[in-house]
């Protein structure tokens, strides 16, 4: 039970620090009120969790295909459900961040914006497929196969596309990564940022475990 308190304290600390310490953005690079950049402490972890959830679900999808144990399918779907929520959050907060850093809410040549949007499309497609199949076993099968196909296609997009579009990110420096790809965070910013990353991951692990326990109970109730 103590780890729940740690999560509580940790997130509270991150929230307080995010608003009390100086804004992570350099006033000369920003196009809007400097304080809006604080969303960066929350946005990046959300995007990270959205991707992590998909990876978790992929692992369980593969396990399902190997063993045909429906409980793996439950875990895969649960992970994706959480991932969808975080992906929506990440897209919205990311759009705000983009507006402040680069002047527009959306831009298709910014690879980070494209990848989170594609992730959203993948989650949408995954649940559209699940909704369209009535039989649970078929649904689990098809959803698992589709997950793998999505993952491979997404890998192509994320790792190979930037090499195709040479000047893909024409964006000037932001507070995270500059032109040279180096991380340009100050020490305070760094602590809060990585702290937020850790807390969000722990939070996700907790919510995920909880959701799986609920889904397991529901499954057992239905099959008795």
């Amino acid at each position: 039970m103590w780890w729940k308190l740690i999560i509580f304290a940790g997130m509270s600390a991150v929230i307080i620090a995010a608003f009390v310490t100086p804004s992570p953005m350099n006033p000369e690079n920003s196009l809007g009120p400097v304080d809006i950049y604080r969303v960066f402490y929350f946005h990046v972890p959300q995007a990270w969790i959205a991707s992590l959830a998909f990876i978790v679900s992929m692992i369980y999808s593969i396990r399902y295909l190997r063993t045909r144990d429906i409980r793996y399918d439950i875990r895969a779907a649960t992970a994706n459900r959480l991932g969808l929520i975080f992906a929506i959050l990440a897209t919205v907060t990311g759009s705000i961040f983009a507006r402040m850093t680069w002047g527009e809410f959306w831009n298709w040549t910014e690879i980070r914006e494209v990848s989170i949007f594609v992730l959203l499309l993948i989650y949408g497609g995954y649940f559209a497929l699940r909704a369209a199949v009535a039989d649970p076993d078929t649904r689990a099968n098809l959803a698992a196969v589709m997950s793998i196909i999505f993952a491979v296609a997404a890998l192509f997009l994320i790792f190979v596309i930037p090499r195709v579009y040479g000047a893909f990110t024409q964006h000037p420096t932001d507070s995270i990564i500059d032109r040279g790809g180096q991380i340009t965070m100050g020490p305070t910013v760094r602590i809060i940022f990585f702290g937020s990353l850790a807390v969000f991951t722990a939070l996700f692990a907790w919510i995920y475990r909880l959701s799986v326990r609920v889904a397991d109970m529901k499954y057992r109730a239905e099959t008795e």
Binding site: L65, V118, L121, I122, G124, G125, A128, L129, A131, A132, V133, A134, T138, N141, L142, A144, V145, M146, I148, I149, F150, V152, A153, A154, F156, L157, V160, I161, R163, V164, Y165
Partner: protein
């Protein structure tokens, strides 16, 4: 006299041939694909009026037309089997890979026929003329291979769903994005004419994509096809 075992390739072609003959009778897929492409092309051309789009836009328009035409017709090959009840016989008489590649090849031929029809019309309506023909053709053919290759298993998945609607398009779009990006890039250079180094990267990407997606489909197909 010992039975001569029929080669894998001829089995695949047999599936393709059967699809072609069925298509000749009903013409669902051909109609959908051709009409959709023509309508889209006409609408775009009409909307542009006297404006002459740049090569970038022309390349993008070309692939948008191909993409939506593919979405309207490539799923028929599998859906038809389920609807007419012939799926069971097919499962019994042919292995998974035979069915997959047979139908994949059918879809590829369909796209090829569409491409042959659309490219001249595209050139006429939009006054677009590729400067580098071999490059343009190579890009389009590789793109067609990818379109047919990546969507075959998705069509099989959709054929097993109870409610289909726009499922095929929804599932295919994220998967086809890398192909679209690379193909548009190559076609653009095909229109403006350029040297090979410009499109080396997208070309490699496209070939890699085609190979990976086809192999992946082959590995996963049995999970979709077998009940």
């Amino acid at each position: 006299m010992p039975e001569k075992s029929v080669g894998w390739a001829s089995k695949v072609l047999a599936v393709t041939a059967k699809d072609i003959t069925t298509e000749f009778r009903t013409r669902y897929a051909v109609n959908a694909v051709v009409m959709f492409a023509l309508v889209t092309l006409t609408a775009v051309s009409f909307a542009l009026g006297l404006l002459q789009p740049s090569s970038e836009i022309l390349a993008a328009l070309f692939w948008v037309i191909l993409f939506f035409a593919a979405m309207s017709g490539l799923a028929y090959s599998f859906i038809r089997e389920e609807q007419s009840g012939t799926g069971l016989i097919l499962r019994l008489s042919a292995s998974g890979s035979v069915v997959l590649f047979g139908k994949m090849f059918f879809n590829f031929l369909l796209l090829l026929a569409l491409t042959v029809l659309i490219v001249p019309l595209f050139m006429i309506f939009l006054k677009a003329s590729p400067q580098d023909w071999p490059l343009f053709i190579a890009g389009v053919v590789l793109g067609d291979i990818g379109l047919a290759g990546a969507t075959a298993i998705i069509a099989a998945i959709v054929s097993r769903a109870t409610i289909r609607g726009a499922l095929f398009t929804v599932l295919s779009f994220p998967v086809l994005l890398p192909l679209l990006v690379a193909s548009i890039e190559i076609s653009k250079v095909g229109f403006t004419g350029g040297n090979f180094s410009e499109i080396a990267a997208p070309m490699q990407l496209l070939v890699a994509y085609d190979v990976v997606m086809i192999v992946l489909s082959w590995l996963l197909f049995d999970f979709v096809w077998r009940r």
